[in-house]
Amino acid sequence: MIAAIEPSWYLIVSALLFSIGAFGLLVRRNPLVMFMCIELMLNAANLTFVAVATKFVGNDVVRDINGQTAVFFVLVVAAAEVVVGLGILVSILRRRPGANADDLAELKG
């Protein structure tokens, strides 16, 4: 008899996903790919929310739906963030095609 899958497994998998996203965010220079890495980290957080909202106690599933509502809000914030970020990116890259994250020091005082 094998044990059922526990929420902590999901937490560990999402920790892996979050670490990969953070590593990519630090290493990659293409701003678009950096945004994708932020999306990966947001998804890891979403998976954590759902995993903690769903607790397996024996054969009963005990749920707290608030965790899933939090994921809903994270989705909205992610969509808004992508829209604004890509808008900034489009207006920067229109003026300086092929710029990467190292070139974008314009905001530096």
Binding site: I5, E6, S8, G24, R29, C37, E39, R63, V82, G87
Partner: protein, 196 residues
């Protein structure tokens, strides 16, 4: 007993397949040189997360994950990649700042270790805590009278979190208006006063 074990084995297969999809896609995002391929790797990750959501009976979120993330956000990414023509491969072999990658690796491994340590410390609380948090009742399947996931989510959203829900509409309209302002090409003579 055998049926239960079979179900558990299938749960295991689903868990590991979805995790493999998710982590493989994530590695694709950070390793592919071409941004288009990275975006497709992200689709794989998002589908893996959606399968995890289904496995945890968050059916509505799984559907939203596929429609909003894999449908809208990835398409937005691909649209911007194509619009700007930045779909040429980056050279990942050059390292502009020498020590950056080792340090990033140390940070990522440290972060992972930290979270795993926290999970290990929380261990019992995550599985054996059968006590409702203060001020809230413990909800089991019977308590919902067969309400589906989406019904419960909707009731929770529009009862407990209705103010936050209204605020998200403000957030979205501000984001859209700001983006239009940022990316619009102003005709000559109509530029914003403080642009340049």
């Amino acid at each position: 007993m055998i049926a239960a074990t079979d179900a558990t084995i299938i749960e295991y297969i689903v868990f590991f397949a979805a995790s493999l999809m998710m982590l493989g896609g994530a590695l694709g995002v950070i390793l592919f040189k071409n941004p288009v391929h990275a975006a497709l790797g992200m689709v794989l990750t998002l589908f893996g997360v959606a399968v995890h959501f289904v496995a945890q009976e968050a059916h509505f979120l799984a559907a939203v994950q596929v429609i909003v993330y894999a449908g809208a956000i990835v398409v937005l990414f691909l649209f911007v990649i194509m619009l700007l023509g930045v779909d040429k491969s980056a050279d990942l072999s050059v390292e502009p700042i020498k020590i950056q990658r080792p340090l990033a690796g140390v940070m990522a491994v440290g972060l992972f270790g930290l979270i795993v340590a926290a999970v290990a410390k929380a261990g019992g609380a995550l599985t054996e805590n059968n006590v409702a948090p203060p001020g809230r009742e413990l909800l089991t399947d019977d308590a919902f009278n067969g309400d589906s996931n989406i019904q419960r989510l909707g009731q929770n959203l529009y009862n407990d979190h209705v103010f936050a829900f209204e605020l998200t509409s403000v957030l979205l309209i501000v984001a859209v208006a700001g983006t239009v302002l940022l990316t619009r090409k102003w005709p000559r003579g109509m530029e914003m006063e403080n642009s340049k």
